[in-house]
Amino acid sequence: MASDTKYVTLVSGDGYEFKILRSAACLSKTIKNSLDPTYGFRENEENRVVLKDINGVILEKICEYLYYNEKYADSKDVPDPDLPPELCLELLIAADYLDGELASFG
């Protein structure tokens, strides 16, 4: 059982790797499920999730957002993060795919 490491690795389609806190990564339902030991995916053993449809630039922004979401989970009047407009469309799709705290509307 390797499922209790503090950090997990997210790999983008073009091969960039991001090591981020498990708690942050699991804000995405998709990532959470693929790491869930009850399902026994290889992702769980390796603590590594390959997201082949998401490229490095977008995944970097996703990771930033996950940390941002975790940081502000308990505070009020959260400042909006700075998102480059040219990435918004791709982020939108990626967020939909990753689900959880990223998707659904306010």
């Binding site: 989970a73 009047d77 306010g106």
Partner: protein
Amino acid sequence: MAAERPRKRKRDQDEAIAKIKKGKEAKKKSAKKKKKHGSDDSDSDFDIMDLYKKAKKLPGQLENCELCEKRFTVTAYSKAGPNGGLLCTPCGKAMTKEAKATEKASKPVQRKGRRKLESNRLDGFTSRGARTLQQLCIEKLAKHAEDIDEFGEMPEAIMNRLSEIFSKKRAMNPTTFKLFLQPDREEVSIQESAYLETEDFDQIFAIVPGIKKLALRNCCQFKDVNVDYMIEKAKKLSDIQLLGANLVSDDKWTELFIARGPDLKSFKVEWLDAAFTDEVVQALVTFCPNLERLKLERCKHLGVEAIDAIARLENLQHLTLRFCKEVPRERLVNLIGNVGPNLETLCLENFVESDCEPTDVILEAIHTSCTNLSKFRFTENNVCTDEGYVNLFTDWSNPPLRYIDVNSTRDVDNANPDGPEEYTIGVGSAGFDAIMKHSGSNLQCINISSCRHIDHETFANIFDGEKQYPSLQEINLSFCPVVDTQVIAGIFRSCPKIQKVITFGCFEVKEVVVPRGVVLIGAPKAQDAIEQFGDVVMDFQKELQAEMAKAGGRIVPVRG
């Protein structure tokens, strides 16, 4: 050198004070002269650094500009530079311009941010925690609407959300609107079409011929020619919603119904006052017998005959009516008797009668005919009595409702604000009790604003903290004058899922502790803020949290 400074500074300070004193005398002596100097601030300024500088030049003398070092003649209007020197005219101008620009840039941003914040709060948006990435992206996109070439493939839900936000931000114009037209889509909904022209509407059917669902709000330029084109192109259309389509004539409406015929499943129109008469509704009923959803609101010409026509729609499941003309109650009773048994949604708004004799025949009809309702709205009625509501909700074979709105059911008479003595008009104590007994177990949303005959005891009994309303998420108690802090606290305890409590005009609601994840809107005396977001985790919430933690999730902040 650093050690030397304090001493020097002290000396400088003494000098400065002496100078200020002197300056004040001088000021008194020559107030007129002072005015001429204008910008010269040496005598009022405490800045010690000034003393290191050479004496300032007077108007008429020559000086080197502090920034560009050019020599220029000092005038009364010469501006002071950043380091205390004087600036030549071009530099001075550039500087004031800059100062103004920064001032402008900094001020509105602050104000806008705050305004947006408050607006979001009233929308119930930002309760706590970060907003979702999708929400953030969509808002950013709306800001840069003009720069987008294409959306690419998007899930339908995202498309609709984009459309909503674009509309809200007034970014829906003939250019951006085309982004929402994709050949493989089945639904086009534009919440705010006021900027769109007649030709633009044709684009919808040209680009999306497979369209099944069309929703246009504020489509002022939607004309007969568009209807013609729609009839010709959109052969799969089954769901039509148009708000404010006043340029479509009666004949065209009828033609549309003939063309879509039995395929039309849902038809919603609002705010029509130029055309759309009873005959059009009759045509609708004749040619589109499979209609399941019908909404006719604020259509000026509609009256009794339309009601009678609708009574013939046997497949109707959702019915919403708000008429401008008065309709005799027996015709409404007839309508309910005919279509009632299949209805899941029944909304009858603003059916006011000028004849104020109390009568509950409509409620009786609903009681006997409707057994499948999940959403019930019956507002602004002035003849049905409290007893009528009790009878409706007592031993009703209809399963518990999900949504109830009985706001503003009361007698309106300025001379007699308490209403008639012998009976209560509108939902009163007994009626509210009956509603909660019948539907409390399943109720998600209830609106009883302006039901002013519900007494405090009833509220306290219903929301006593013991009885539980497991599904209730939203309650509107505005203008129920007896509602006080105790009632609100009771609601928090009795409704574990409550998210939003609206209390405009409830002056008895004072220092109330709002639990976490709940928003209390409108309490006029609670605090300065018109809205409060709960911060306190109450005991009864702790259990819930523990359970959720066990389930493996973290407590997700409530989003409105």
